[in-house]
């Protein structure tokens, strides 16, 4: 073989390598997508019964100490289809109350298992922002992702413990159905087309979680009596924990304060 033939063979090999990697990655992605729904709680696993007559409730208010940071304005000018509220939701504090704090029972439930809710939870892309900004789901719970904008979004979770994926969703496209198999707190989700679009998904194994509203309030119902660690997690301000003891039919108020960093 002369040099020209060798050169041609080398180029074909390189091209082949590129195509092989490209195709195999797509296949892997499809395989993983196929297995994703089965990562829900296995059918053989049964939930631990809780006596409804003894369950307790924990509620409270999450406060923000110090001067609330001035909301940052988002520049949406790079896409004419993006209109609406263009304020960042990194720290939403009003009258000393902090919104978007994920509150959950971090410890104390032992090896109890819980059924995954059959109902989907929803992430809505509207006015080029995610709604809600912070979401709580159970492992394996279905998440319906909708695009209500007249522009294409891409949904790109960047997890530490779950599988990463990145899919685009054109306007009026069918909702995407996704779930996360492993527990993960403050799992970032972003849109690479609109870099200001960020939200956080919190994946836990129990249904005992809540997210504070604009008034900083939260409520977790149906907890069996016991000693628990309650975690309050904010995307920027970090995590704070509290130990609590709940008696049967208790209704306890547990407030938590965050300070400006």
């Amino acid at each position: 073989m002369n040099r020209k033939t060798w050169g041609a063979i080398c180029m074909l090999c390189l091209l082949g390598l590129g195509l092989t990697v490209g195709c195999s990655t797509k296949e892997n992605t499809n395989e993983e997508q196929g297995t994703s729904p089965t990562s829900k709680v296995p059918a053989t696993q049964t939930s631990t019964p809780i006596d409804p007559s003894t369950v307790a409730t924990v509620s409270g208010t999450v406060t923000f100490g110090g001067a609330a940071p001035k909301p940052t304005k988002i520049d949406m000018s790079q896409d004419a289809a993006c209109k609406g509220n263009n304020m960042a939701e990194t720290v939403v504090a009003s009258d000393g109350k902090l919104a978007n704090v994920f509150v959950y029972v971090k410890d104390g439930l032992g090896d109890r298992t819980f059924d995954v809710p059959k109902d989907s939870t929803t992430i809505d892309q509207k006015n080029c922002q995610y709604h809600p900004h912070v979401l709580g789901v159970m492992t394996g719970q279905n998440i319906e992702i909708r695009n209500d904008d007249d522009t294409t979004h891409n949904i790109h979770p960047t997890p530490k413990d779950n599988r990463e994926w990145n899919e685009s969703q054109p306007p009026k496209a069918a909702a995407l159905e996704k779930s996360f198999a492993r527990e993960e707190i403050m799992l970032p989700v972003k849109c690479n087309q609109h870099p200001w679009m960020k939200m956080y998904v919190n994946v836990v194994k129990t249904p005992f979680f809540a997210i504070t509203g604009a008034d900083g309030k939260y409520e977790i119902k149906g907890l069996p009596p016991g000693d628990y660690t309650l975690a309050f997690v904010h995307e920027k301000l970090g995590e704070q924990d509290q130990k609590i003891t709940l008696a049967a039919k208790d209704s306890k108020t547990v407030d938590q304060g965050f300070k400006a960093q």
């Binding site: 180029m11 490209g22 990655t25 960042a88 522009t151 294409t152 990145n166 690479n192 087309q193 870099p195």
Partner: protein, 302 residues
Amino acid sequence: MLTACATFVLLIAGALVTSNDAGLSVPDWPTSFGSLYKIPQLVGGVKFEHTHRMVAQFVGILTIIMAVWTWRSDRRRWIRYLALGALCTVIAQGILGGLTVLFYLPPAISSAHAALAQTFFCIAVAIAVFTGRRWLEKIPAAEIDSRRPSLTTLGLLSICVLYIQLIAGAMFRHHGLSWWPHVLNAPIVAIVLTWTAIRALLHYAQIEAIRRPAVIMLSLLIAQLCLGFVAFMTRVAWGHDAVQPELPMVISTVAHVAVGALLLATTVVFSIQVRRHVPGSAAKPLRTEDRATVAARAPVSS
């Protein structure tokens, strides 16, 4: 020259993708939203990512033309292989670009993509130099350099420290490394490049082919240090909490990448010219008859 210029534009387009965090706005590769030829609506991050892909395709085509042209028209075997090397590099670069999309921007692959981009730019610039009229028509000065370290060594050392700087910078930009290795290496780069350029200007200023890149090296170095400072302030000091890529950060980081690429390419050109005009004392200077035949060894056409 056209390939080198187009590659510079491509480098800027690539830097814009990274600075605007738009690397995954087109989620598939080698297709874009499932198509190989359709141009998607160029809004948001797609504007940067797809433009980068289109410029890359153009550079790929130019490189193929350049490689075929060089192979057919240039008598010098080594430049034919260099052109073939350029073609292989641009293919590898395309594959790396695809892999980084398919694997969601892993720092190692993205940084390799960034580093190989500037390597390809240097190859394209070198080919432009080797096929340029000045190279073909001008007789090498063949000055003897008996100083230690030799100017050739200093030129190579400059390329090495710049390359380390490039990799550290790329790793930082692609979240694989903290900012401090890049910042820490900056004074080393400044010292080595200044030493090299000053040595060249002090002793070989009469050789235009060396004086010119040495002056450009110094000018670009000063510009690059200033841009590096501004990029650090806009990205690390002021911009770490930004809700989206802000214009001052985008402009300063893209300019820092572009000037960095120009500095590396200029240093490569400088080293090539030093090797040609000021061979080390160990290297055999060109004999008079060799000098006379330089022009005769030139290609059929460039």
